[in-house]
């Protein structure tokens, strides 16, 4: 029989003072291993059941053209870290700007103290945590040069001015026109006491228009955005001419639109951003965060029918370039595809680490956060309703009098499952035909009721970029769906 040596070198805590823990501040790589494994070991030696560090560097810039001038160019540089400590099922999160060893140790100390724990004394033996070989998604996928490949400040200005010029030529009754762009470059490093050690770079970009037209008392405002992850050439390849034509056409149609008459209607919702209905009415309610709070009606419905039999829905982080795509989540777990609902039956919830621990639902690579000041929480990525078997003509033909919701605004869902969302471009449907434009519509309802009324899905699934605000901040997501029919829904108007 042979006796294995100690798996890790044992330090005494007072030896830490002599160690050189100067990890590079301008890059997150394997040089951080010693710093983080020691800190994680300190946390575990103090009695924490689980410790996780999240490090972030962020290089963000936004640019705005108004009429024919660049009126804003705003770079932002952010560096920070957060440490999460679990004791049993309770947890604590502390964030700091200070990425030195002592800065991170101070944050850990604070988190431990909040949990009723203290850093070990000066003569305690300390086992560093064995971290896995760095899973470096950034290097493996050639992302290290992304920032340098993105549009320069000069190019941002040139593209936006050209785009705004195109919009000015297309639109009439223009009161103001804006072209807006941002680039969010984020490098993250996650290390946890279960050995997780992973690095990634995310590049998220968005560009779009905001057009306000006015003619006397008639006004219309239309916004449109495109979003992308992982393509440094996104801005320079933006097809602004087509976007300008679309925005100008929508604004023109809505300028003289009547206000919608309130009531209960069948509606047809367009594809792409129409998917916000599922995001709000169902997606949020499938996050384990909601289970923990008891704020979802679907809490015990796994395996049961919760939607119309024609409805299947997914959430995933792997669609190429989609706005909610991530190679790993903010807890270092690789992204995956999660089947939420299959033919009306609830199949899975979206779970982060804490949600999994507290509810028993398996992690799905859904632990996401806006940045280092937030602890990760279960959040959506690219969420969409799967295409169905109906044609668009069949959907419209089934509506005698209803509303075509061509472009959606934002929405929200409350703790009792009541949701609402605004329609920014709508049309009356009469005898299967789209007739006059309508404005001012808000759709309201109950999640549990609406899901059974989505009775027809066409075969034209498409995705759209969006922003989702919730417990762990504002994150980038994709919503999507094919055109679909809701048999009846309350429409608030005048």
């Amino acid at each position: 029989m042979t006796v294995a040596p100690f798996p890790t070198p044992l330090l005494k805590t007072n030896d830490l003072l002599q160690r050189d823990y100067a990890a590079p501040r301008d890059r997150f790589d394997s040089a951080w291993e010693a710093t983080l494994s020691t800190l994680l070991g300190l946390g575990r030696a103090a009695g924490a059941d689980f410790v996780e560090f999240f490090l972030e560097r962020n290089n963000y810039i936004s640019c705005q053209a108004e009429d024919d001038a660049i009126t804003s160019l705003s770079p932002r540089l952010v560096t920070g870290a957060g440490v999460r400590v679990f004791r049993g099922k309770a947890d604590c999160y502390v964030s700091t700007n200070d990425l030195t060893f002592n800065g991170l140790k101070a944050a850990l100390d604070k988190a431990l103290a909040i949990m009723g724990l203290t850093l070990p004394g000066p003569h305690t033996h300390l086992a560093e945590i064995n971290l896995e070989l760095l899973r470096d998604y950034a290097t493996a996928k050639g992302k290290d040069d992304w920032l340098a490949q993105c549009s320069s400040m000069q190019e941002m200005g040139d593209v936006l001015l050209a785009a705004n010029g195109a919009l000015g030529q297309r639109a009439s009754h223009v009161q103001s026109r804006r072209a807006v762009y941002f680039r969010d470059w984020q490098e993250v490093l996650v290390a946890a006491s279960d050995g997780t050690f992973a690095r990634d770079i995310r590049l998220t970009q968005s560009v779009g228009y905001n057009l306000l037209c006015a003619d006397g008392e008639h006004r219309s405002s239309i916004g449109q955005r495109a979003g992308d992850t992982s393509d440094p050439a996104f801005l320079r390849d933006w097809d602004y001419a087509t976007a300008a034509a679309d925005v100008a056409e929508s604004a023109g149609k809505m300028l003289y639109a009547d206000y919608v008459e309130s009531g209960t209607y069948p509606i047809i919702m367009a594809n792409k951003f129409g998917g916000v209905i599922f995001h709000e009415a169902c997606g949020h309610l499938l996050e384990t965060t909601q289970i923990e709070r008891g704020t979802t009606p679907f809490i015990d419905k796994k395996g049961q029918k919760i939607a119309h039999e024609n409805l299947t829905a997914w959430d995933e982080g792997i669609s190429p370039d989609a706005f909610g795509t991530i190679d790993m989540d903010d807890e270092g777990m690789p992204a995956q595809r999660t089947l939420l609902i299959e033919n009306g039956v609830l199949k899975n919830f979206l779970s982060d680490r804490a949600g999994s621990m507290r509810t028993g639902h398996p992690r799905t690579g859904s632990g996401r956060r806006q940045g280092f000041t937030y602890a990760a929480a279960s959040r959506m990525r690219n969420t969409y309703i799967a295409p169905g078997d109906y044609s668009l003509d069949e959907l419209f033909a089934s509506v005698e009098k209803g509303i075509y919701c061509k472009q959606m605004g934002g929405g929200s869902v409350g703790p009792t499952g009541q949701f609402n969302f605004a329609v920014s471009e709508a049309y009356l449907i009469e005898n299967g035909q789209v007739t006059k434009p309508l404005k001012g519509a808000t759709l309201i309802g109950e999640a549990t009721e609406i899901m059974d009324k989505i009775s027809m899905c066409s075969n034209d699934l498409d995705l759209a970029a969006g922003f989702c605000g919730s417990i762990s901040g504002s994150i980038y997501v994709t919503v999507g769906q094919p055109h679909l029919k809701v048999d009846s829904i309350t429409v608030g108007g005048r």
Binding site: I70, T71, P75, R76, L77, D91, G157, G294, G440, G492
Partner: protein, 447 residues
């Protein structure tokens, strides 16, 4: 975090190294702790200590570049100033921002009390106890899914290369409680309340608890409401939500950008019923977040926006004031494009109102306590809104909770349709405002 004197020294040293002769810096540091609980146990405790600054530099052509950063050590300041200098090549050439002419003027002599942070254990035990009391307030209250107790200390400063140097500190604590009911055969209902003060010992936790419980219980016996036009009474908080959502009406930057419901000629025009007067006052004694200077260093002050229904003043930055021949009003936030925003509203009755309005005697009136989803249901550029709300149908003093409904209209019409502004004001974190009565608003009930 380095002291303001440290940051000033770093900025001066970096600027000298980079050949920058004109710059200003606005920054803040925040130290905060928050707790949530779930059925008697802490759910998540959060603490954060962070800082950030935003720097503006003027290049040799007089153009401005901006950068914000969370690194406030010498290296971080070097990089920020260097990036801002690079960005300055793309700064605007028309209406270039300048230092506020009032950046060295005296600020109001306001003594802001700062309260030391309470131990985290005290926050947790306090919230656990409050949750327990709220759950015990009624058998139908099954959970308090959203709750939180937080405390925050903020230091903020402004300095510029012309010698301005301002600094102030404040602290505040907040509590929110949002409870949810469950009853057999009935839909879940929920309601909440929030309180803010300068520190935990001053926080009206009892009042928050009582309000959350009363509101939640009051929504148990709900009913649908028929769609139609109703006389609507907005709570102070609900009216302030609408006022804030349509603030482009009196925001000078929005006016100059042609993204306002007003134009440069609107000052002096009638925009509301003569019963309504609106002021903005960052220095109001009830404002927990009192600030004596804005992001450009301009002193804050009380400003009349609407007096007896007449639009009297826009909110200005130094730049908008210069363009419109006015004075800066202390409402600016610096950035590549300086933005303007309100601080703390004070809504008062304008002309004397009739005493015939009383919720105790009103018939078929909708009382809206809270409007929701403003990010989705407000189209500020068109003036329109369509919003879900919490509220009751009031008949002869009895209130029936409304199951699910929206209120819709045009904000400009709403202001002119005000028929009564009650004399008693409600104090909220965003301002003080009495209940406002409005005629003939569209209500859509579900179903």
């Amino acid at each position: 975090m380095p002291t303001i004197q440290d940051i000033a020294a770093y900025a001066e040293s970096s600027a000298k190294k980079l050949g920058i002769s004109k710059y200003d810096v606005y920054g803040s540091s925040v130290d905060e702790t928050s707790v949530q609980v779930d059925k008697g146990d802490p759910k998540q405790v959060k603490a954060s200590n962070r800082s950030s600054v935003i720097v503006r530099v003027w290049n040799a052509d007089g153009k401005v570049g901006v950068t914000s950063t969370s690194d406030v050590d010498p290296l971080g300041m070097d990089l920020a100033l260097q990036t801002a200098q690079e960005a300055s090549a793309f700064g605007v050439s028309d209406h270039i921002p300048d230092f506020s002419p009032e950046s060295v003027a005296p600020t109001a002599d306001v003594q802001v009390e700062t309260v030391p942070a309470a131990p985290v254990g005290d926050l947790i035990s306090t919230l656990v106890d409050v949750e327990k009391q709220l759950l015990a307030a009624h058998p139908a209250i099954a959970s308090v899914p959203y709750n939180g107790l937080a405390q925050r200390a903020i230091d903020r400063f402004y300095l510029n290369s012309a010698g301005a140097l301002r600094h102030e500190a404040r602290s505040y604590a907040s509590v929110y409680l949002y409870s949810k009911t469950e009853q057999e055969g009935r839909k879940p209902r929920s309601a909440g309340a929030m309180r803010v003060h300068r520190g935990l010992p001053l926080l009206d936790i009892e009042g928050c608890l009582k309000e959350a419980a009363e509101k939640t219980i009051s929504h148990l016996d709900y009913d649908k409401v028929a769609s139609g036009k109703y006389r609507v009474v907005f709570s102070g908080e609900a009216f302030l939500s609408l006022l804030g959502a349509f603030s482009n009406m009196y925001n000078a930057q929005s006016v100059l950008d042609n993204r306002s419901l007003s134009t440069v000629d609107s000052i002096g025009s009638v925009v509301a019923s003569p019963l309504l007067s609106v002021y903005d006052d960052a220095l109001h004694p009830e404002n927990i977040s009192v600030e004596t200077f804005d992001g450009e260093g301009t002193p804050t002050r009380r400003l009349p926006i609407i007096e007896k229904g007449v639009l009297t003043q826009f909110l200005h930055s130094a730049g908008t004031a210069k363009r419109m021949g006015a004075s800066p009003t202390g409402h600016a936030s610096i950035g590549a494009k300086v933005s303007v925003s309100p601080s703390y509203y004070q809504v008062l009755p304008g002309a004397e109102a009739s005493s015939e309005f009383s919720l105790e005697h009103a018939e078929n009136v909708i009382f809206i306590d809270d409007v929701q989803a403003l990010h989705a249901g407000v189209n500020a550029l068109q003036g329109s809104f369509s919003l879900p709300f919490d509220g009751w149908l009031v008949n002869g003093g009895s209130r029936t909770s409304i199951e699910s409904a929206t209120v819709a209209g045009d904000f400009r019409d709403l202001l002119k349709a005000i028929v009564h502004v009650e004399p008693e004001a409600e104090i909220t974190p965003g301002g003080i405002c009495p209940r406002i009565w409005v005629d003939a608003l569209s209500i859509t009930g579900e179903g």
